[in-house]
Amino acid sequence: MAELVLDITLAVLLLSMAWGALHAPIINNGIGLFVAFGIVLALTWARLGAPDLALAEAAIGAGLTGVLLLHAARAIPVPTATTVMRPLQMMPSILLILLVLGLLTVITSSGPDSVFQQTPPLPDLVEERIADSGVEHPVTAVLMNFRAWDTLLELFVLLLALFGVRQLFPGQRVITRTGTQLSAADKPVKVQPWPPLMAWMGVLAPLLVLTGGYLLWHGSTAPGGAFQAGAILAAAAAVLHLIQNLPALRWSLWPVRALICGGALLFLVVAISTAWLGAGWLHYPQPGNKLLIVTIEVIATLSIAVTLALLVTGDSDDFTR
């Protein structure tokens, strides 16, 4: 009974916040609701027995995405209201949504061969082989060993996103170079940060770094790992940026570049050397695989943290030149 109440509360919150995030009249309220949606989603992951995902969602899905969205909303000069469409204009989209709904219902409808009756073979395989993987926590074992390919490619996706963002400067330079005036919204405003925030950050930032390190080290035996730790470190960087206490992070500094590329490159070197000298792509050698996984995780954490921090806070070069 108590579980049912919890389930229904979570579902109602999720659906209403999802709707509100999209259709709130003021975009900042929508973003606030999206962040709250992320927090409730993290609770839902915890309810469904996925604490790794809950940690990652709270840090990445709610926190960093919220910062990114608010940052983008500030750059938009006029708060855009939701445009109301005429009923006739809505028809194609409503039809499409009904079609998707129908398909989903058919796929998941109860029956002898519905998805809920099938038992997937993978969990048993993971259980069987986890002793060989070098770590005790199954999710970390999947991420860093059994499906290490996914993680390797994911690091490259993160790198690619950063390169893509770097190609599109926020336009500060473009505008000033052509000599046109900056409008009031474009000027980098130097505001004194909120004093209580400054006072809090002195306590909070070291605690965030400590939590990140704990999650990283703990990840081999319990929920946690490189992504969660990296996201929390990036969140610490984002709040330090907020109180203007973060040393300038810019791509032109070589330690920043080394840290960003280091994770993906180390992983790639491991993949190539295991293919060349060992049993195959990302087949870690049996004794020493724990050491290898922990090394990759530490480097990947730093790499993810710096990449996400640069994505969220923006390159300092964009604002100073």
């Binding site: 579980e3 389930d7 979570l10 579902a11 999720l14 999802a18 995030a21 999209l22 975009i27 929508g30 973003i31 999206f34 992320g38 992951w45 469904l48 027995g49 996925a50 790794d52 995902l53 990652a56 969602e57 990445i60 899905g61 940052h71 983008a72 909303a73 750059a75 000069p77 855009t80 939701t82 469409m85 989209s93 949504i97 709904l101 998941t108 809920f116 038992t119 997937p120 999710v139 999947v142 991420l143 996914d150 993680t151 994911e154 996706v157 993160l158 893509g164 963002v165 599109l168 926020p170 336009g171 473009v174 052509t178 046109t180 409008s183 790992g225 992504f227 993810i304 994505l311 969220v312």
Partner: protein, 108 residues
């Protein structure tokens, strides 16, 4: 109805809310939020399916963790595209006329 099937339908509903927003809304920032909501719906379906076995399927969970990082990468890039487009429009119009016109001038 067990909790897995319950959250499976919640995930489908979140996905559909996101899809509806993506199709109906005109504001680019809201469209980015809509895509993020669709992603959240997909993760919800994945994790609901992961509860079929006991203990919970770690492969699907790891897949969702991977997807989350890919989602924020795509979001960061999409938001930069949005702001680049706005600045481009500002640059084309008069500098003091920062007001964005409605969707009419948007290339479709």
């Amino acid at each position: 109805m067990n909790s897995g099937a319950f959250y499976l339908s919640v995930g489908m509903a979140v996905f559909l809310i996101g899809l509806h927003g993506l199709l109906v809304l005109q504001d680019n920032l809201r469209r980015v939020i809509a895509v993020n909501l669709m992603g959240a719906g997909v993760f919800l379906v994945l994790v609901a399916l992961a509860t079929r076995t006991d203990p919970v399927d770690p492969v699907l969970q790891a897949l969702a963790v991977t997807g989350l990082v890919v989602a924020i990468s795509a979001t960061a890039f999409a938001l930069r595209l949005v702001s680049a487009r706005i600045r481009h429009q500002q640059h084309k119009t008069k500098p003091d006329d920062g007001r964005l016109s409605s969707h009419k001038d948007k290339p479709r």
